[in-house]
Amino acid sequence: MLAYYFRLGLRSLRRNPLLTALMVLTLAVGVAASVSTLTILHMMSGDPIPEKSNRLLVPRFDNGPLDGWAPGDEPSDVQMSYPDVANLLKSGQGERRTALFGIAGPLEPPRKDMPAFVADGMAPTRDFFAMFDVPFLHGQPWSEADDARAADVVVLGRAMAEKLFGDADPVGRQLRLMGTPFTVAGVVDHWNPRPRYYKLVGGNTFGDADDFFIPFTTAIRHEADNNGGMSCSSKREPGYAGLLASECTWLQFWFEARSAADRSDLQAWLDNYAGEQRKLGRFQRKVPARLYDVMEWMEELKIVGNDNKLSVWLAFGFLALCLVNTIGLLLAKFSVRASEIGVRRALGASRREIFRQFLIETGVIGLTGGVLGLVLAFGALALIGMQGKEVAAMARMDWQMLAMTFVLSVAAAVLAGLLPTWRACQVTPAIQLKSQ
């Protein structure tokens, strides 16, 4: 019977073409607006590394001066000073650790026909690659010994490696970076999570993959300038040594805990560390040490902007309007079929059967609207993506959102169909038959 109702529903689409087209279009536009805005929100706020996002932890201290601080204030900055980072690297806490900061330096390709250019990279420790599941195409991360002796080794991003060396395996080859020859240790395969959750501060959050990685110690040894934000709330001496000794905050740090349960141990260790630094006079503010996992960190840094939320809210308001509109159109469509219902009821159909038939009919409208809405949503996302490739990376539909589109459109149609269907069930057969 259900299949029969489904066929009836399909047939009734054709019965009142103008009204039906209007209904399907209204539904499709509403669904497209909400799905396309929701897709962007979903891509921006999804868990980038679900299997270990609760084990990757960012510590946060407040090393600001006592001036202008009131108890209860949040830590003044989201980054860290070099002394803290050096201490945490030495701490041995967690399974893995990395400090990192962005660097941008002139890169002179080994090919003479290619002019020098500025490449954007990062300076983490060897652990970084294992912590964030970075896949390798050639070679491997540099060794712990390289970290220890600040060796001039570099890991290239795949796009950069192909630009410089073509398809050949460049491991062991040399290139000049920031005026110094570096040896290629490995090439990262396609790896460009967006948002770039591993470096959310002062970076191109939705940007392209990094061109290169060099050891943190090496970048410090070469006095590489920080390509990102820096906050200095107290006086510092000029020069790089002055920066390293200062309380300026400009570095980021990640721990990987062995298990989610180890988080409390790490927290205890950090509390203890902050206490020690307070005794030494470095930390003057009484702000407890904080620890954030990946999702908490994205929330804290407000990666999803208010504008994105606003778009979604308004789009769903728009969908609500489309629903109310569809209810009205369905009422109109069903009201002219009172006599048909009267005949069916008189021939023995129960109210429940009428209810089923008309609800399935609205479901068919919902499905049609969903298909059209999906097409429109793809169009809308393509339009949104034209803003630039960073946005385009967010404006992509995945399977979850695809399924969501259909659920949303059918649910919306059925919801809109409830009242008209209920009204259709109220038709009294006697009156309808009499008026014929």
């Binding site: 209204t26 020098a116 020069g239 902007g305 308004l314 728009f318 309007l321 009422l331």
Partner: protein, 410 residues
């Protein structure tokens, strides 16, 4: 008048009118907020940066891959600036540490008293040993530009000296000394060297910061008459004669490359490009809101037309009877339009309340601004107008129903 009978007819069959009123309410609530946000963003994007002729201004970041020491580097920078000045069509060249709207640069904290605890303001910091007033075309509202002997070059890796003179923007001066002249007053940069103050010699009308955030902070900028040449890269802001920018950009690049013996990395951007990039997401949001608003109007309109047509069809007989009993065409027309105005009015009042509630939600959750009442009033007028226009078609059709209909069928 006929309001009583219309009202009782409406109350007998509530579903349809409620649906229409609900559509009007939802549209009005969303539309008023959307239009307000669009206008607000448009105002943000339209703010002047302070650069007099943005279309003719661009900047070059030049990085020389040599191993020169700081003094040789400074000589190179001076030579490069001279080369750029000699390009035909160039009106003014200045070395500069950052550009407005470029999203990259430095802020500094400013104190009025070295002993005090909290900073008075955080200002965007422009460093240059040329006249930015001339190159950007800034408008001095008080005091003077720097004198040639006040413009200095500093090696940032070894020297950390506060400049003796500074120029502030009007917004920053008003923030630091409300209601008083800033000229001759002293400021301190952060917790810099003991007792080193800088004196304000000039105030410019405006110069936006590198990020130009929403609000007064966008124009908190300070110009420092010093170039720091510790870095290997130099940045030059260039204003060309009107309409010459694109040609000058090409020639500037080739002249810099030709005269350098070592490889160079040159990056050029125009202020127009920076402005476009900075406000890209605001423009996108505007488009989205405008599209949704237009679709909303269309759908609400079609909803009103659809419902009114349905009612006319349902009441053909009653209309015939009324006509047969002496009602004129005009009476029928008036009946349907009045009925619609009543429904729309209910929707408009509901929509105004809903719009305020939605705005309250946006204010508390998404840090948006409060909605001025004018937007709701304008929206209400618009929907009344749309209601009448949309109802006119079906009402006209109703007025055309012949009195003879009353006599047909039972």
């Amino acid at each position: 008048m006929e309001i009583r009978p219309i009202l009782s007819a409406l109350l007998r069959n509530k579903t349809g009118p409620i649906l229409v009123a609900l559509q009007v309410a939802l549209s009005l609530a969303i539309l008023a907020n959307a239009v307000y946000i669009v206008n607000e963003r448009r105002a943000v994007i339209a703010r002047p940066s302070g650069i007099a002729d943005e279309h003719s201004t661009f900047y070059i970041t030049a990085r020389n891959l040599n191993s020169d020491g700081p003094e040789q580097r400074l000589a190179t920078f001076r030579r490069e600036a001279d080369l750029l000045r000699a390009v035909p069509g160039v009106a003014s060249v200045a070395n500069v540490s950052q550009m407005p709207l470029s999203r990259s640069g430095w802020n500094t904290s400013i104190l009025l008293d070295q002993r005090q605890q909290r900073e008075n303001a955080s200002a965007s910091m422009y460093l240059s040993s040329d006249s930015l007033v001339k190159t950007f075309g800034l408008r001095l509202v008080e005091g003077r530009d720097f004198l040639p002997q006040e413009l200095v070059d500093l090696d940032e890796k070894t020297q950390d000296r506060a400049p003796d003179q500074v120029i502030l923007t009007k917004a920053l001066a008003d923030k630091l000394w409300p209601g008083a002249s800033a000229i001759g007053k002293a400021i301190y940069f952060g917790k810099s060297v003991e007792g080193m103050s800088s004196r304000v010699v000039g105030v410019v009308e405006r110069l936006q910061s590198q990020n130009a955030p929403i609000g007064e902070k966008a124009e908190w900028s300070v110009i420092i008459p010093a170039r720091r040449y510790g870095d290997t890269a130099a940045m030059y802001a260039i204003r060309t004669e009107p309409g010459q920018r694109d040609r000058v950009m090409k020639e500037a690049e080739s002249v810099l490359r030709k005269t350098s013996s070592t490889p160079m990395i040159l990056e050029m951007r125009t202020v127009d490009q920076d402005r476009k990039t900075l406000y890209r997401s605001d423009v996108a949001l505007q488009w989205m809101l405008v599209t949704v608003s237009l679709l909303m109007l269309l759908i609400t309109c079609s909803g009103i037309v659809g419902m009114a047509s349905l009612w006319v069809t349902q009441r053909r007989k009653q209309i015939g009877v009324r006509r047969a009993l002496g009602a004129r065409r005009l009476d029928i027309l008036r009946y349907f339009i009045l009925e619609n105005v009543m429904i729309t009015s209910a929707g408009v009042f509901g929509g105004a309340a809903l719009g305020l509630a939605l705005n309250q939600l946006l204010v508390s959750k998404l840090e948006m601004a409060r909605l001025p009442a004018g937007y709701l009033a304008g929206g209400a007028l618009l929907f009344w107008l749309i209601g009448v226009i949309a109802a006119y078609g079906p009402a006209w059709k109703a007025a055309g129903i012949s009195p003879a209909t009353a006599t047909r069928s039972v």
